[in-house]
Symmetry: C2
């Protein structure tokens, strides 16, 4: 008899964002005519930029002419895009990676979820707590957990690395052995950024334990202060133990256009596979389960990596960083303790008066008509916090902050 994959049935409840959408919808139905101000989901709101869109228009024109039309591209991505990525890493970060170590994808989420597939199902997985839910969920569905523990609000079998006020939301490596370590800096949801020394501890751990680091750098373009790492390959030895995932979503506004990349260096070995195997298996995975990113999106990606495109992306990121500054200073002015919001689009705000995450969520929705994201939705250590996203039109962000300021004591 056909049976469904029981590991999928272990996934707890709904995904965080649908629950936020449900509560927001319910509130709106009870309060018709009232406008909800959304600082919840990390969804870009500003227009695609002129040079990037002109190149996508041009690509459609090329596809409209049989003499320049192309069909399937390489599953790994178009060569000019892989070359442009390699050059960007060299130029901006001083990091040497071959174009063949870059795999273009339809976005960081898919890669972050799929990467576990090439590793053994008995791998021990460590995640930051709190963390972007996809790392956890993909490993639970991948058979690496015994199920959800309602008491601790965590999955049995996963190793959680608490990231909290006491360590500045930058966790330290686990004390026990793990095989795969998911790290995200600038962090979603806490907005924390890691220094080279902090990441060096993880790279050293991975070398010692023969572990692999999955490094999500989707917000790296938000780093504007000195002393932080844009790519984990700035850390010595990382090219032997780390896979890096990144995206055009948050710097070029491609959340809907869909384009990302993953770097799998040739140098990664593992316990049952010599150097090169991890690269080869990800290549095989992509060739079997994926058929390349949209060629229109890829033409936009090439444009985004050109000097003109990088400038446009920088302005776009500036806009959201200014939003973050407005949020952070507004909330701090009324005594709310805030983390992140600098070098990151996310402000990690501590709920006042000892409120829990969902309590503060409901309070802000009902009193200030502002939607944020409950920190507990990202893991137990997120309890007592909310994530305030800077993705919004400036005028809406200002209105939302003013509304919170006005109603904080209601």
């Amino acid at each position: 008899m056909a049976k469904v994959n029981e590991d999928f049935l272990k996934l707890a409840g709904g995904y965080l964002f649908p629950e936020i959408a449900r509560r927001t919808r319910a509130w709106q139905e009870k309060n018709p005519g009232e406008k909800v101000l959304r600082l919840g989901i990390g969804n870009t709101t500003e227009a695609l930029t002129p040079y990037i869109t002109s190149e996508m228009h041009r690509k459609i024109d090329l596809l409209s002419d049989r003499s320049t039309y192309t069909g399937y591209g390489d599953e790994q991505g178009d060569t000019p895009l892989r070359v442009a990525l390699s050059e960007m890493y060299r130029r901006e970060y001083g990091v040497e990676l071959a174009p063949e170590e870059f795999f273009v994808s339809d976005g960081a989420k898919a890669d972050a979820a799929n990467i576990q597939q090439i590793f053994s199902s008995d791998s021990i997985v460590a995640v930051q707590d709190p963390a972007y839910p996809v790392y956890v969920d993909s490993n639970v569905a991948g058979g690496r957990s015994l199920g959800f523990d309602e008491e601790s609000l965590s999955y049995k079998g996963l190793v959680y690395m608490p990231s909290n006020e006491s360590n500045g939301f930058v966790c330290t490596p686990p004390e026990t052995h793990v095989d795969l370590i998911y790290l995200c800096f600038p962090n979603n949801p806490t907005g924390a950024v890691a220094t080279k020394e902090q990441l060096k501890a993880f790279v050293d751990y991975a070398i010692r334990e023969n572990a692999v680091i999955i490094y999500d750098a989707a917000y790296s373009d938000y780093i504007r202060e000195e002393g932080y790492v844009h790519t984990i390959y700035e850390v010595e030895g990382a090219e032997k133990v780390a896979i890096e995932i990144n995206s055009f979503s948050k710097n070029a506004g491609f959340t809907g256009v869909r384009l990302g990349w993953t770097i799998v260096p040739f140098g990664i070995a593992s316990d049952n596979a010599p150097e090169g195997t991890v690269h080869r298996l990800w290549n095989r995975r992509q060739c079997t389960y994926f058929n390349g990113a949209s060629n229109i999106a890829q033409s936009g990606g090439i444009a985004a990596l050109s000097p003109k495109g990088r400038e446009e992306c920088r302005s776009l990121v500036d806009y959201y960083l200014e939003n973050a500054r407005i949020i952070k200073s507004g909330l701090e002015a009324i005594g709310i303790k805030c983390y992140g919001g600098v070098n990151s689009p996310y402000v990690w705000a501590k709920a006042p008066r000892g409120m829990k995450s969902w309590e503060f969520f409901d309070f802000l929705l009902e009193k200030a008509h502002v939607v944020v994201t409950p920190g507990s939705g990202f893991g137990g250590s997120g309890e007592g916090f909310v994530r305030v996203s800077s993705y919004g039109h400036r005028e809406d962000v200002i209105k939302a902050v003013e509304s919170i300021v006005e109603h904080i004591n209601d």
Copy 2:
């Protein structure tokens, strides 16, 4: 220690098309200046059509304006596209499916590869032999085979349903129990088409055995003769046992643009899951591992489903069908036995003089400078055949056929 997924290591050799590319490249290096005529890969060659591209241009313009910009869409696809798909099935096939039963994706290949993930890893899988390699490879990497058997050129643990001259390349259901059955009609590679009665046997088998059918209908728009099934839901009872996968690649020319859909009816149950669970798990899978198809591609998909878009797609398919007719009649005129090529873009040609698939491949490459696809690359029952693809410019197809005719006795 981190270990790679050993099921991935079971995948035999390279993927078929890279090997074809390798031999073609090697030949070209030895014969510089000679033009290779490609009827190998199923890659569209004709331009995207005017109405569809105008709508994609319009979408980019909307994304270029902050008042009409949108970011993340629903993982399941934009509602207007799901509604348009549902209406197309009602209008053209008389089949009632809710928009929520349609999941928009970045193409049929990814869905065909990923769908196995929501089923138990001990599922017994049946595939047509020959078959599109993705069904087999995704299940081998998904842990459903004990490895490749070099003797029989097949994977241990998989059930192969021979499709050959004696059954007109339409296999019958397995005689033993299986859990998942992959079917593709019009078939890639053989070009065979199934009647309602032939598919009814599979639906009845699936109902009796509590199996699930994965039905790949990516070439359904190529069916022009009466008496064949465009969607498996034309068969009574299929909505309780069948998942259908389809794509805009081969009718709208979206091989590079990337857009497809999968239908998972609410009515599918399984042994450890009540009705609705399979739909719910695919929804969860898509929400966890995928972030929606490109919004530009989706705007093209909505256009493609409009009356004007359907007309444009019909002309595009007509073009390739005429190519197929030219190939088939040309080869038959020199005594090569051909199947398919009607209601299908693929001509399935029997190698003359008892040649094996790769022998005939090498012969055609060396003598006629024509690249085809060796039938044995699709499974043991494909031995002795080659797949000739109608995807090519008319002038190149004519040249290729003329060249084969001229050199067949070299």
